[in-house]
């Protein structure tokens, strides 16, 4: 009765729908649905209409909520009716219904409400139905853990089916349920699955063990599954089973190793000689993907002697000819790792891998060639000579996507040398006329980079200057920036360049960077450019419209330089510029204008000494990426790091925070009494990475804060940007004058690298009459520490959690004792002598972590504490220090004490 009511209401509903949509549309849809499946013809009208409607919903993804609810309710009823039915043809009806449910699921509609009905209908011998059912159950079991129990029965039954395929499929679905409280039902089928006489089932079972481990690690290890897998790993005749065992074991042991010694040993055994040899001997039986896995494991193996390395390479050599690029890359990684300490063989390996890599970049799809090119880029950076004769492979194709073109242009820059330079620059000039503006820019920059890299730049300068004649705004802009850099390195080209730059109409230059470059050249070479004063005057007149502070800053300097060279013509311009600058709302611009103004008050010669001293040509521009980072990426060959050009910790870090985070929580580090064992090598490496990242960013930060709102650092950065590595003479003079007072105490507290900077900064401060007071006795005079502070770990932890970071420091030292530090104890004793006490310490060479605390003398109990987190890296001889203080006003003083204590330890 109820179903009858529903049917009528449904028909009514669909009737309304039909009224709504136009008749034509309805016919069209009907036609589609009929064509789609002739089967439907034999169905009752209602199902036909249902299909019509759902189909239109699928196609257009438009379906209002009421309608959908109706659909689902209807599906539910139909499934329920079919559940017990054994009539002929019922399977087909079921199949259509299942298909509909899955299609809803596919387009993202939640059909979990049908769970029990779907399960009730799942008793079938039809494989496709089974597969759809497995798919459905796998997707929603997690949402309905209680109902998932219903599926166990039929899945377990299928696990005992005669057909190995059904056994395998059922086992896979069973393992994919991922419901914790059903684990007990999983163990039995898994155990029989691992012993199944069919390889397919064992393959599935091996992977199932890993899935079980992810749901319930203890259930997996308690049942000795890893041991069973180990047996299969060596003895199973089916290579795919071996491969799955390998990947499962690798993951299980790696995760287990974090908490158990035994697992760590097992993991080492897994990468040990017997296993490696067993795998290598049957490498050809594996599928290409399993080969990747095996090769990855082999790359972690350290052979006993060179002969062993050669044996392994001989076995693997033909893998370089594999059609699958993943296999080729994995093989290359093995080769590179095996020969890393044999320099000459390493070179031979480069020669050997060159051809396959070059084939991969040109023959595969653009997506593949992008990933391969990223790896090739890494190799090219290490051995540019190797690829210098194959530069034509890096020529861009018209059909290459932009991201591939960009990478190829970088490669061309990297492989350019004296012999191929001319052709490469010619090719790059072709790209300068490209449709894609981004590529055009890259190409021009590449030409500039090549010019800066190589000595023989005659031809390149001509090319660059030709770009200026193309009369395209963005080309001109890029070129101007490059010409500026070029002139800084090769001032001898100034005459040629200036002649062309002088022709550039200043109106066509809009981009701030290009504008600054043009203004810089106008100022620098104003004596050679007749109309420089007039052009600059034009810029000064447009001061108010100029949005970019960078340009206004550059304008101030350029106008001053102009003034020193051609005073009569430019006095008025300078006056206008300084007036505009001092009135400027931007702090830096204002400061620089005021600074110039005051310098000029001291006398024109003095000002010229500071603003426009004779410059040396720049020999090397600062490299953007340190070689350390590059080496690190190289170690991670054949990984995402290479594509992102960042070591994996840089981007994987946040994922692993949960597992590895002990930088914020002191409790995670072992207390002094139980040192170091908690932190395992893998973690300490991770922490090490953390630290590297941290220190880099914090250096940035401290630099940033230093330049806030004072003339001096701003001035320094400015000069260093126009002439790095050649401190201007007046600064040195001033610095020397002050060094008798300044350098001694500062040098004691800081290291050599910082000294010169600190001294020169001090010198200028003094020059400006800022009256810096500097007590020769060091800062420790004003802050005394309690010799016996009392702080229990719980309070420390609480305080650490509550207080903000008052101070962070990066510190590097050169001393022996620190580099040789093998345990935390010596440092602890030393710090204690300096009245800084240790709360907790941990880590292993080269990465240590300490929590220190100290208390200000004569402060009431429970206050005046300083809490310190100190990350020490002995290999890089650096420390990263975070200080928190009850009384933040003296935090910096405490910081000085802490630093000097660390320094004295490293010098002890």
């Amino acid at each position: 009765m109820e179903s009858h009511n529903q049917l009528t209401s449904y028909l009514q509903h669909s009737f309304e729908c039909c009224l709504l949509v136009s008749f034509c549309f309805c016919v069209l849809l009907l036609f589609i649905s009929l064509r789609r499946s002739a089967l439907l013809l034999s169905f009752p009208l209602s199902i036909c209409f249902l299909d019509l409607l759902t189909h239109s919903a699928c196609v257009r993804s438009i379906m209002n909520a009421d309608n959908r609810k109706g659909e689902l309710a209807d599906l539910k009823t139909q499934l329920r009716q079919l559940a017990g039915s054994r009539a002929a043809g019922v399977e087909d009806v079921k199949r259509e219904l299942y298909k509909k449910v899955i299609s809803y699921m596919t387009i993202g509609i939640d059909v979990s409400g049908l769970f029990s009905e779907m399960v009730m209908c799942s008793a079938t011998s039809d494989l496709v139905l089974k597969k759809m059912c497995y798919l459905y159950v796998g997707s929603y079991a997690k949402v309905h853990p209680d109902l998932a129990l219903l599926t166990i029965n039929f899945l377990q039954k299928d696990c005992r089916d005669d057909d190995p395929m059904i056994r395998g499929l059922a086992l896979r679905s069973l393992c994919s349920l991922r419901v914790k409280n059903l684990v007990e039902y999983l163990v039995g089928p898994l155990r029989t699955g691992l012993k199944d006489n069919n390889g397919y089932v064992r393959t599935v079972a091996a992977m199932g063990v890993l899935k079980l481990y992810h749901i319930a690690p203890s259930a997996c290890t308690d049942n000795d599954f890893p041991a069973t897998l180990k047996g299969l790993l060596i003895h199973d005749p089916d290579a795919q089973v071996v491969a799955n065992c390998l990947s499962a074991l690798q993951e299980i042991y790696t995760l287990e190793a974090a908490s158990s010694e035994a697992a760590l040993k097992e993991r080492e055994l897994l990468f040990g000689r017997p296993v490696i040899y067993a795998l290598l001997n049957r490498i050809k039986e594996f599928t290409e993907w399993a080969q990747c896995l095996v090769l990855d494991v082999v790359s972690k193996y350290v052979p006993a002697d060179p002969n062993e390395s050669f044996d392994i390479m001989n076995v693997l050599e033909d893998r370089l000819q594999h059609a699958n690029s993943a296999v080729v890359l994995a093989t290359i990684k093995v080769f590179l790792q095996l020969t890393i300490s044999m320099a000459d063989v390493h070179q031979q390996v480069y020669e050997r891998i060159k051809a396959p890599l070059l084939t991969l970049i040109s023959s595969g799809s653009s997506e593949q060639s992008y990933a391969v090119l990223s790896h090739l880029h890494l190799l090219v950076m290490r051995a540019p000579m190797l690829f210098s004769s194959d530069y034509k492979h890096f020529y861009c194709r018209y059909s290459d996507p932009s991201y591939v073109k960009k990478l190829k242009i970088e490669m061309l820059t990297a492989v350019a040398n004296e012999s191929n330079m001319y052709e490469i620059v010619t090719e790059l000039s072709e790209y300068a006329a490209n449709v894609d503006v981004a590529i055009t820019r890259e190409a021009i920059r590449a030409v500039g980079r090549i010019a800066l890299q190589l000595y023989d730049v005659n031809a390149i300068v001509d090319r660059l200057l030709q770009f200026l004649e193309m009369e395209k705004d963005y080309v001109t802009a890029e070129t101007l920036v490059l010409v500026k850099d070029l002139l800084r390195k090769y001032p001898q080209w100034s005459h040629d360049c200036i002649a062309v730059v002088g022709n550039v109409s200043s109106n066509t230059v809009q981009e701030p960077k290009a504008k600054s470059a043009l203004i810089w050249m106008l100022g620098e070479y104003s004596h050679d450019m007749l109309d420089a004063p007039y052009v600059l005057e034009g810029f000064v007149e447009g001061w108010a419209e100029e949005d970019s502070a960078e340009v206004r800053l550059e304008l101030l300097s350029a106008v001053s330089k102009l003034f020193f060279k051609r005073p009569p013509e430019s006095q008025k311009i300078l006056g206008a510029a300084l007036a505009a600058g001092i009135a400027d709302a931007h702090q830096d611009v204002h400061d620089r204008a005021l600074f110039y103004y005051r310098l000029l008050q001291q006398g024109v010669e003095v000002a010229e000494c500071v603003i426009n001293p004779p410059k040396q040509a720049v020999s090397v521009f600062a490299d953007t990426q340190s070689s350390e980072i590059k080496d690190r990426i190289f170690d991670e060959f054949n990984s995402l790091s290479v594509v992102y050009r960042e070591p994996s910790f840089m981007f994987l870090d946040k994922e692993h925070r949960g597992a590895y985070d002990y930088s914020e929580d002191p409790a995670a580090v072992s207390l002094v009494s139980a040192p170091a064992d908690l932190v395992l090598p893998s973690q300490s490496l991770e922490a090490n990475d953390n630290d590297l990242l941290l220190s880099a960013s914090e250096k940035e930060e401290s630099r940033g804060t230093a330049s806030n709102g004072s003339y001096v650092p701003d001035f320094l950065t400015y000069e260093s940007s126009s002439a790095p590595r050649s401190p201007s003479p007046p600064l040195q003079v001033v610095a020397n004058r002050n060094s008798s007072i300044g350098s001694a105490p500062v040098a004691r507290a800081t290291t050599a690298g910082r000294t010169s900077q600190a001294v020169s900064a001090l010198g200028i401060d003094d020059l400006l009459g800022l009256n810096l007071t500097f007590s020769p006795g060091g800062p420790s005079l004003s802050l005394k520490l309690n010799s016996k502070p009392a702080l229990d770990p719980a309070t420390f932890q609480r305080k650490w959690g509550q207080l903000p970071i008052a101070l962070t420091m990066d510190h590097s030292f050169f001393g022996q004792p620190l580099a040789a530090l093998s345990g935390p104890q010596p440092l602890l004793r030393h710090m204690q002598e300096n009245l800084i006490h240790c709360m907790a310490s941990g880590g292993q060479v080269p990465q240590f972590k300490f929590f220190f605390f100290a208390q200000k003398v004569e402060s009431p109990p429970g206050t005046g504490f300083f809490l310190v987190e100190c990350l020490l890296n002995t290999s890089t001889a650096s420390a990263n220090v975070k200080i928190k203080a009850d009384d933040t006003s003296v935090a910096s003083k405490f910081g000085d004490i802490f630093r000097s204590a660390l320094t004295s330890f490293s010098l002890a």
């Binding site: 387009i107 890993l210 050809k284 690029s325 080729v328 070059l358 084939t359 593949q368 020529y395 932009s402």
Partner: protein
């Protein structure tokens, strides 16, 4: 390892998702990806194939407008992911007879089944199309008709593939054919870049040897070339014995049953091109005069067929008026691409395309010069000159039918103006 794969339509709609790990990846990542793809500085559908989102690391490939997007949370070899996605796309195209939105939506059950077999636990398992087809029958017209007539289920074979459990992963035991035959296709593609003076800047040939093998039992096939030295870099199907190739330059293999790609190779340093194309563009008063000459430069010995020249003009032209003395010229007004279909070059005259382009008012010349793309086909000849010497069969007593074909196509054959 890969956690999931999403298949997105060309409008960014998620058509299908398949999760392999316990931790489900939310669909919202696709929205992130799609905005990224849309807002990229690059041209449309051109985001780098490997991307880092705030939550996952994404790998994607685009085939016929359909995006295959895979997510992972951990470090992994990027090529493993991309190579796998390519394989998924290839297998699906093979199964469905192409890749497009309708085909995928109509056959989503098959797609699920295929994906389920291709990867387990985040690691690729069976990707060999021949083996997959034994696991899951492709949807073809015959089986669909059959299922309608008999009502029997058909999209799944009831026996496990033969190759599974066989000692040789790519070939099963007990294969029998009534006609024993094996055919080889040498397919070469020529990549060339020529500058406006007709000077060859870069030229290479990429070749593949496809085999279609229908041989019974366990045949040992060996294939030798008369000039193997020209092959610059060669990669093989897993069945080829590398050691034999290293020592004798002979391809020795136990072939899989059915069609497969035996080798691919590269021949570099080509000095000559079969076809020359001379474009000339001159400008006067906002009009661009076009003149393109075309002809045979080095006769490859066989006729050069299906010559097509594509001229992608910049968007700043307002109208195109081109005529040819041979072949047909068509104009796509949306994409501003003129296509000149020449076909075969006639004996009596040299084909020539002439005409004018009208530029947007104010322009005196084109903002950038177009790159002409040339297509051609040469049946029966390899441009690299690679020749098959002989093919022998051992291990079985029958004498198979054998056949060889060669075809050369223009790959990326571009002419700069």
């Amino acid at each position: 390892m890969l956690q999931c794969i999403f298949i997105l339509s060309d409008s960014g709609e998620v058509m299908l998702e398949k999760q392999w790990m316990g931790k489900r990846v939310d669909r919202s990542i696709c929205t992130w990806f799609w905005t990224q793809a849309r807002s990229s500085n690059y041209d449309e559908h051109s985001v780098p194939s490997v991307l880092a989102s705030p939550t996952y690391y994404l790998m994607n490939i685009v085939r016929d407008g359909i995006t295959f997007l895979a997510c992972t949370e951990s470090e992994m070899p990027p090529l493993l992911g991309i190579e796998f996605l390519c394989r998924v796309a290839d297998v699906l195209a093979d199964y469905l007879g192409g890749i497009n939105e309708d085909l995928i939506k109509d056959n989503f059950v098959i797609v699920y089944e295929v994906l389920d077999e291709m990867m387990d636990g985040g690691f690729p398992s069976t990707t060999e199309p021949n083996v997959l087809k034994e696991l899951i029958a492709p949807p073809n017209l015959v089986s669909r008709v059959l299922s309608v007539v008999t009502g029997a289920s058909s999209s799944l074979n009831n026996t496990l593939p033969l190759a599974m459990g066989s000692k040789v992963p790519w070939r099963g035991d007990g294969i029998k054919h009534s006609n024993n035959e094996i055919y080889f296709d040498l397919v070469e593609e020529m990549d060339a870049v020529l500058n406006r003076d007709g000077f060859l800047i870069k030229g290479e040939v990429y070749g593949e040897i496809h085999a279609n093998c229908r041989l019974s039992g366990m045949p040992e096939v060996s294939l030798s070339f008369s000039n193997p030295a020209i092959l610059n870099d060669i990669s093989f199907h897993p069945c080829v014995r590398y050691k034999v190739w290293e020592s004798n330059r002979v391809l020795s293999f136990l072939p899989p049953d059915g069609a497969f790609k035996l080798t691919s190779y590269r021949v570099k340093g080509l000095k000559s091109t079969p076809v020359y194309v001379r474009p000339q563009l001159t400008f006067s008063e906002g009009i661009c005069h076009v003149n393109v000459m075309l002809g045979i430069r080095n006769d490859p010995g066989k006729p050069v067929d299906s010559i097509v020249v594509q001229l992608p003009w910049p968007s700043t032209i307002t109208s195109v008026d081109l005529t040819a003395n041979h072949g047909t010229v068509t104009q796509n007004h949306g994409t501003k691409v003129s296509t000149w279909s020449v076909g075969r070059i006639p004996r009596d005259k040299s084909p020539c395309l002439t005409g004018t382009l009208k530029l947007q008012p104010g322009l005196t010349k084109l903002p950038h010069y177009p790159t002409l793309l040339v297509g051609f086909k040469i049946m029966g000849a390899t441009l690299s000159g690679l020749k098959v010497d002989k093919m022998d069969l051992q291990g079985e007593s029958y004498r198979p039918h054998k056949g060889f074909r060669a075809v050369t196509r223009a790959g990326n054959y571009e002419i700069r103006t």
